[in-house]
Amino acid sequence: MDLWYSEFHTKNVKLSIKVSSELLSEQSRYQHIAVFDSPEFGRFLTLDGVMMLTEKDEFIYHEMITHVPMSVNPDIKIVLVIGAGDGGVLRELSKYKTIEKIDLVEIDERVIEVCKQYLPQTACGFSNPAANVIIGDGIKFLRNKENEYDLIIVDSTDPSGPGEVLFSKEFYGNCYNALTEHGIMVNQHESPFYANDADAMIRAHKKISKTFEVSKVYQAHIPTYPSGHWLFGFASKGLHPTRDIKEEYWNRLNIDTKYYTTKLHKGSFCLPKYVEEMLKENE
């Protein structure tokens, strides 16, 4: 049997992964959810046909979206995670004993249930006793929050699906308002490479840099995402991602990572010239 999962990265480019079996395919209230097993990437999750995570490369995404802000402000105690129903961000946050409370707001309950059943590698994060899971719309949850969170991690899908709201100016404004004085917002920031992704990336950057005092972008290499070149946003009310990094402190914590190092952290903010130019034109 020759079974493949294919995803169009543009109208003219697609990525195909050989599938050994389909474990689940269902339509939830919000999106289509599927889980496959594959020889190369292990088990993987797709939403609306778009790759979310594979067992083989999810560590890159989850480490980079979590440890970058955590090493800039070691005093982070109260965290809000938007999306992230796979549990991967929670798993990484569990490595910090200093965190007192994590609110996780996921719109689609089925994503959490499916991941708990099929993807224990990330869903183990839900066993974190600090985690408080809320099923609901992130923008609604944040609407009346003020000065409450030290860190907000926005682990959204692409702006085309239910994640669209999480790329709006009003959402970023709500995040700003919900953050404490030294607050940081980190978000999944799309890719600079293909035109459609780059367009979403630019629009997000424009809105974030109008909202926050500090708005920087950093990169990682994620093989199963379109072009493999992926960006994250780091926004804050003052803390700078490379100047304010507490390198020694973080290294003394002896946190086990596979991708993230403080050296890589600093390097990840050095962007290719064309990306720098794209961002600069839209600040």
Binding site: D137, I139, K140, L142, R143, N144, P162, E164, V165, S168, K169, E170, F171, G173, N174, N177
Partner: protein
């Protein structure tokens, strides 16, 4: 009758099956002659943009499928007769007025009528009698008609032929329609209802009373607003005491003889949808609006108003599917919030006036967009809130009618700078968008307050239309000898 039927739509489907060779207009011949337009609008659309022909009936003289579709609509709306209109609700309103009031006859109406009504007075030569309007200082808007004021107007003008009621208003405010109809009929006056914003009253649950149910003689219903049909399509309803054949003659005075089948079929299909699913549709719309009101009122500052305003008279009822929000307490003019929403948050709402905004909620909405609107309003309050003392808090100015709109409109006139117009009689309209209610109509005295209001509206970014001078720097006023 069977509301599952849609005769015009079915006839068009049949026409497509027949593959009749077209040697008639329109010249694009089912789109083939204009490939660019066909690519843009779609082949299906162009294939039914056809001329009236035997199997499709004729809007000016309906005897088959249009007649049947109009009868179905009449039944659905509880009217004795329904006309499909292709010139917008403006054409329906004009047909109502022209059918009931002739030159130099009086018509009683509130000032917050749509421009189309007063335009029609220029055409007909009828004399407007404005009912002293009830206004809300808190909201800065004109309300419904008070029974007492209607009674006074009727007593003072027993010769008036008709009374026109704007129900509901743009904001969702309803008058005591049944009371007004009873009083007017007792005095031999017809009741015309501009029901442009009330299509859904005929189909939803627990809605304010409809014009037809209240016993009104005629009503203009904008199917393209809450009814879902194409822009420019509308329905004119007649009660049992109206000579529909005479009304058709009036309609045909100004109506196109090439009525668009795109518009007609959209009316037919929308009527069927409303008759079959309207109950569910408007339940959902009402839930959306109620949810949004609760969230927005939770911010403080904004006031998303609803049925709590009901006072038994000038706010006799309220259309709770409307999301009308007063912005006065956050110190921003409605038009400012409207602009910020569009420019900064990519959200287009229906309108903003001096102290309110209206976001149009319909069956086409989805929750996540509603959440965006709500959050954006929260952000606007946080980021742009100002001192409310900078706002003008009431916008209603009493008109002083000196002569008929028709006489002033066609009189000899002279152009004067805006500031020099105080004390003169206007020969033109000055209409401020939003909300589209005349500040001045032809034949009315220009006062200092009016000039100030016009300047303030320009300053706040409203669009002012009417005068020949597009920048509103000058107005045409009556020349000396005409006074």
């Amino acid at each position: 009758m069977n509301q599952n039927k849609a005769p015009i739509y079915e006839a068009l489907e049949q026409l497509k099956q027949n593959k009749t060779v077209p040697f008639d207009v329109p010249g694009h011949k089912r789109g083939k002659g204009n490939p660019e337009l066909t690519a843009f609008l779609g082949e299906k659309c162009l294939s039914v943009d056809v001329n009236s022909m035997k199997q499709l009936d004729n809007l000016c003289h309906p005897v088959s499928v249009i007649k049947e579709a109009e009868e179905l609509a009449a039944e659905a709306f509880g009217a004795a007769h329904a006309f499909f209109m292709v010139g917008g609700t403006t054409s329906a309103v004009q047909a109502m007025v022209l059918s009931t009031v002739k030159k130099d006859e009086k018509i009683i109406l509130p000032r917050n009528v749509h421009q189309s009504v007063i335009n029609c007075l220029v055409i007909s030569g009828a004399i407007p009698v404005y009912v002293n309007p009830q206004t809300s200082d808190r909201l800065g808007i004109a309300l419904g008609m008070s029974m007492n004021e209607v009674a006074i107007s009727i007593a003072q003008n027993p010769d008036a032929k008709a009374i026109l009621v704007n129900n509901p208003t743009y904001y969702g405010i309803c008058s005591n329609l049944k009371g007004i109809v009873e009083l007017a009929h007792k005095h031999g006056m017809k009741v015309l209802v501009d029901e442009a914003h009330g299509t859904h009253f005929y189909f939803g649950e627990n809605m304010p009373i409809t014009a037809m149910k209240a016993g009104a003689d005629m009503a203009s219903v904008s199917m393209h607003k809450s009814g879902g049909s194409l822009t420019q399509s509308s329905v004119l309803l007649c009660g049992k005491d109206v000579n529909a054949d005479y009304v058709r003659k009036i309609i045909n005075l100004t109506q196109t003889t090439s009525g668009s089948y795109l518009l007609l079929s959209s009316l037919d299909i929308s009527r069927r949808n409303l008759a079959l699913n309207g109950f569910e549709i408007f339940k959902k719309v009402e839930e959306f609006a109620t949810y949004a009101r609760e969230e927005i009122n939770g911010f403080g500052g904004y006031y998303a108003f609803s049925k709590e305003l009901i006072n038994g008279d000038s706010i006799y009822d309220f259309d709770s599917t409307k999301l009308s929000i007063n912005t006065y307490e956050i110190g921003l003019a409605g038009i400012e919030v409207y602009d910020i929403l569009r420019d900064e948050y990519d959200i287009q709402i229906e309108f903003g006036d001096l102290t309110n905004i209206l976001a149009y909620i319909s069956v086409g909405d989805i929750m996540k967009n509603l959440e965006r609107l709500i959050s954006s309003l929260g952000e606007i309050k946080r980021l742009y809130k100002k001192d409310k003392s900078r706002l003008l808090n009431s916008q209603y100015i009493n008109p002083i009618v000196e002569m008929s709109p028709q006489k002033a409109f066609f009189a000899n006139k002279v152009s004067k700078p805006l500031d020099k117009c105080v004390g003169e009689i206007s020969c033109e309209f000055v209409i401020c968008y939003p909300p589209g209610i005349p500040v001045l109509a032809p034949g009315e005295k220009i006062t200092k307050d009016i000039v100030e209001y016009i300047k303030y509206s320009i300053d706040k970014g409203c669009v002012i239309t009417g005068p020949e001078a597009m920048d509103i720097s000058r107005l045409n006023v009556l020349k000396g000898e005409n006074k």
